[in-house]
């Protein structure tokens, strides 16, 4: 596989339950270890709270809760991936973040009708790589869901 033809996209790969997900590296600010999270009251349950990210108060979303997966005890491999979208900066709790890979553009396909357990609406595309299947997240959908919009209108 040629890695230098400019057609590739660098993707950060992370694990959630038994599936692999990816976000483009440009949207990722950093990957952090688990740390103390301050709960913020009256927010949707997938918003775990806020952390102090080097002096910036950053909201944290638990992706397992977000995708209605079984929640799991946080352990050594649990990571917080800090992603940017528009002018929002949010941390995503994932089971583990283990890889950065290059995916050729042509390997990315539109989402099929049903993919695993995560609802298709959060999926931007699927990348097939030899024996792996990578689900590319649509951050906009993850961020600005009905729940968040509701939150903003009710309490706004």
């Amino acid at each position: 596989m040629s890695e230098l033809n400019g057609q590739d996209e660098k993707i950060i790969v992370f694990q959630l339950k038994d599936e692999e997900f990816g976000v483009p590296v440009q949207q990722v600010g950093s990957i952090e270890r688990m740390q103390h999270i301050t709960r913020v009251p009256s927010t949707p349950d997938f918003v775990k709270g806020v952390i102090n990210l080097r002096g910036v108060v950053t909201p944290i979303i638990d992706l397992r809760t977000r995708f209605d997966l079984h929640s799991k005890e946080h352990d050594e491999s649990t990571r917080i991936i800090i992603v940017h979208y528009n002018d929002m900066e949010v941390g995503l709790i994932v089971d583990s973040a283990n890889d950065v890979i290059d995916i050729p553009k042509e390997a990315i396909e539109p989402p099929p009708e049903v993919v695993g357990t995560v609802e298709a609406e959060y999926i931007q595309g699927v990348a097939k790589l030899e024996r792996r299947l990578l689900i590319l997240l649509d951050l906009q959908k993850v961020f600005s869901s009905e729940e968040v919009r509701e939150l903003k209108t009710i309490e706004g």
């Binding site: 301050t38 002096g55 108060v57 929002m88 903003k152």
Partner: protein, 697 residues
């Protein structure tokens, strides 16, 4: 010319100059015979003209030039200062401001100023301002033809320093400066094309320094049948003339040597006069300094002194301009330092090491001083907001046919820039309100035995950690019963609720949403969005507003604002394992109360706090803090207030008082109920800041 780097300075200084013109004009209106003021205005206008010409904003320069002409006429006592004259000058000032704003927002500063220019021209030529004001449109035609006549006489105008230097130098190097007056034929069809051809010819034989009208105007055919060009060349005059005349459709070309000296003589005369005035002024200022208290001006008003003071300070204080963004960066860095300071303090108290403790203490003290300095640097005088009000009031008073005297005091009170930026609109709203609904018409006032002229007093002062701004008028005051009736009619409150309110609470009803007392809707205020917007803005700044009023005597709107928004003092409290910060500004006191002291009213827990019934709110319930609901014998309560209302917040324990840096929760989590922001504590964890205003109903 590379102008971008100068643009910011240009805009800043133009605004300052316009402000000076504005202030002096307002004073001039009160004291029309004071020629010092006219010179002052003249000087500011002249600087503005020079700068805008250098920067290539011709419209701006032209209009300023016309204003100068008028002022010159005033100074030479050919024209008398009266309201009509000032109206016209104010109008043109508005145009100037609009142009500068346009430039600031990236525009080219062009604007159609023909009618105002024409008015100014006619005044400068000695017409009565009142006539000019009235017969505005009818004479437009004739004036349009007289305006160019003026350029015919003057030839090249508005040379700036740079251009003069170029001319001077070219003279020294053996070039000659030539002024061409080119007259196109009456039936010339393609004026712009002919102009282009003339310029092409001229550029072959020399360098064009300046043209009147400007090249832009020429290209747009925005001129009559003639234009003037200033050329630096080595060719002799007849040669130039014959070359230019080869362009067809030209009527004639007059070529003559341009003398810098002659041009300068005019300028110098003006300058001399100015210098004289300046010298007199300085002498006067010195006289004040040596405390001889011999005032030269016949009637030195307060404002006169105010106007001179800043000028003196400018000479004494050495200041530099710093970009606000840099200050913001500095502030952000310092905020991080404050967080680390908190962390260090905590670590050193845990370790209990003597030398470490000492060092940390010293560092805390120094960073405390640093904090004061940085916060002070961001402080801006409220004058910045206040100085636009005199003209606004003047205009409004005319529109409303009322007579109003605006008094301003404490304009040097300082506030954080972030607060200053936000406070302007609410104040405008309150002032409009006072003028429209508060102060009566002259007839009504006379009938009530009050002076014909109403007084609006704008006052700012600092008290503790807060700044107060008061807007008081001696108008009709608030009609308590009318307000109450209206509130009930508009179902803002029920009649039962109304019966139990005291006067002040009733006055404050006018700031509830869905309320408007004006019987008729006017342009000035009462457009549906009312004082509730004002109230919300002020509360979002962490401030509060109260109203006091006496029927037939006037009202006072008092705004309380925090000095700064970014670093605040808070009380840290604990609820189960979670820590929350409550701003000290809203805390009255803390108390430990026994379980027996808690009473029930309307199914709500209340306590008797110093004779007042205060409702209790459990932070644990509000914030749904996980944990067992235990029955305790004693409760820790923080009594908070919002205006006159109070509430007791039940917490588990008090941790203590601390200075913290206010941080936003981020765009993703804006508008969380009862949380106004977050802060980072000494241990690096985030604590939420409680918005107690949301908890008090």
């Amino acid at each position: 010319m590379e102008v971008n780097q100068y643009l910011e300075v240009f805009i800043e200084e133009s605004k300052e100059n316009l402000q000076t013109v504005n202030d002096s004009l307002l004073q001039l209106e009160k004291d029309p015979s004071n020629l010092d003021l006219v010179s002052e205005i003249f000087r500011a206008a002249h600087t503005l003209k020079g700068m805008s010409a250098t920067m290539g904003y011709q419209d701006l320069a032209n209009l300023t030039h016309k204003i100068e002409n008028v002022l010159d006429a005033v100074r030479n006592q050919q024209v008398e200062v009266d309201t009509d004259l000032l109206d016209i000058v104010f109008d043109s000032l508005e145009d100037l401001e609009a142009m500068v704003t346009d430039i600031a927002s990236g525009g080219d500063g062009q604007r159609d100023v023909e009618s105002i220019v024409e008015k100014l021209n006619r005044i400068a030529q000695g017409e009565k301002p009142a006539d000019v004001q009235q017969s505005n449109d009818t004479v437009k035609e004739t004036a349009a033809t007289t305006a160019p006549a003026e350029t015919e006489v003057n030839g090249i105008q508005g040379l700036d320093e740079f251009e003069l230097t170029v001319l001077q130098e070219s003279n020294e190097r053996g070039f000659q400066n030539v002024q061409l007056s080119v007259y196109l034929r009456e039936d010339c069809l393609l004026k712009a094309a002919r102009v282009y051809m003339v310029f092409e010819v001229l550029e072959q034989i020399g360098e064009v320094i300046k043209s009147t009208p400007s090249v832009d105007q020429l290209e747009e055919e925005d001129f009559d049948n003639q234009f003037h060009v200033l050329l630096v060349t080595q060719e002799d005059l007849s040669e130039i003339e014959s070359r230019v005349m080869k362009v067809s459709e030209l009527d004639k070309v007059v070529v003559e040597t341009f003398s810098i000296d002659e041009y300068k003589i005019n300028q110098q005369e003006q300058q001399k006069e100015q210098e004289q005035v300046q010298n007199e002024k300085e002498a006067k200022a010195e006289a004040v300094h040596t405390e001889t208290k011999q005032e030269n001006t016949p009637a030195p008003t307060n404002q006169n002194e105010n106007a001179q003071e800043p000028k003196q300070q400018q000479a004494q204080n050495k200041t530099i301009r710093v970009n606000i963004e840099r200050l913001d960066v500095l502030m952000n860095l310092f905020e991080e330092l404050v967080i680390d300071r908190g962390r260090l303090e905590q670590i050193s108290s845990d370790l209990n090491h003597n030398e470490l403790n000492e060092t940390v203490e010293r560092m805390s003290r120094i960073s405390g001083d640093l904090q004061n300095i940085i916060l002070n640097m961001r402080m801006v005088q409220v004058e910045q907001v206040f100085n636009r009000f005199p003209r606004m009031v003047r205009q409004l008073a005319r529109d409303l046919h009322k007579k109003i005297n605006l008094e301003i005091s404490g304009a040097d009170t300082e506030l954080d820039r972030t607060v200053i930026d936000e406070i302007g609109d609410p104040l405008v709203h309150l002032i409009r309100n006072a003028l429209d609904h508060g102060i009566e018409t002259p007839e009504e006032r006379v009938a009530q035995g009050k002076p014909e002229e109403g007084t609006l007093h704008l006052k700012a002062y600092q008290s503790g950690n807060h700044v107060f701004i008061e807007i008081s008028d001696d108008g009709g005051g608030i009609n308590r019963d009318k307000v109450l009736q209206k509130a009930i009619d508009n179902s803002v409150i029920t009649p039962e609720q109304g019966a139990s309110l005291d006067d002040q609470q009733i006055y404050e009803l006018i700031m509830e949403s869905g309320f408007s007392t004006a019987d008729k809707i006017s342009d000035v205020s009462g457009r549906g969005v009312g004082l509730d917007v004002v109230k919300n803005t002020i509360e979002s700044l962490g401030g509060s507003i109260t109203i006091d009023s006496k029927l037939y005597e006037g009202s006072v709107f008092s705004i309380q604002l925090p000095l700064t928004l970014s670093i605040i003092s808070v009380m840290l409290v604990e609820v189960e394992d979670e820590k929350y910060a409550i701003p000290l500004s809203s805390i009255i006191e803390t108390a430990i109360i026994k379980k027996e002291e808690i009473m029930k009213a309307h199914n709500k827990k209340v306590i008797d706090f110093r004779g007042k019934i205060v409702p209790l709110v459990s932070l644990k319930d509000v914030f749904e803090v996980p944990g067992e609901q235990e029955e305790e014998t004693h409760y820790s309560v923080v009594i908070v207030r919002k205006g006159d209302k109070m509430a007791g917040l039940i917490v588990d324990s008090f941790i203590g008082q601390q200075e913290v840096v206010l941080k936003a929760l981020g765009n993703y989590l804006s508008n969380v109920f009862a949380v106004s922001g977050a802060t980072i504590l000494g241990d690096g964890q985030v604590a939420l800041i409680v918005d107690s205003n949301a908890l008090i109903k």
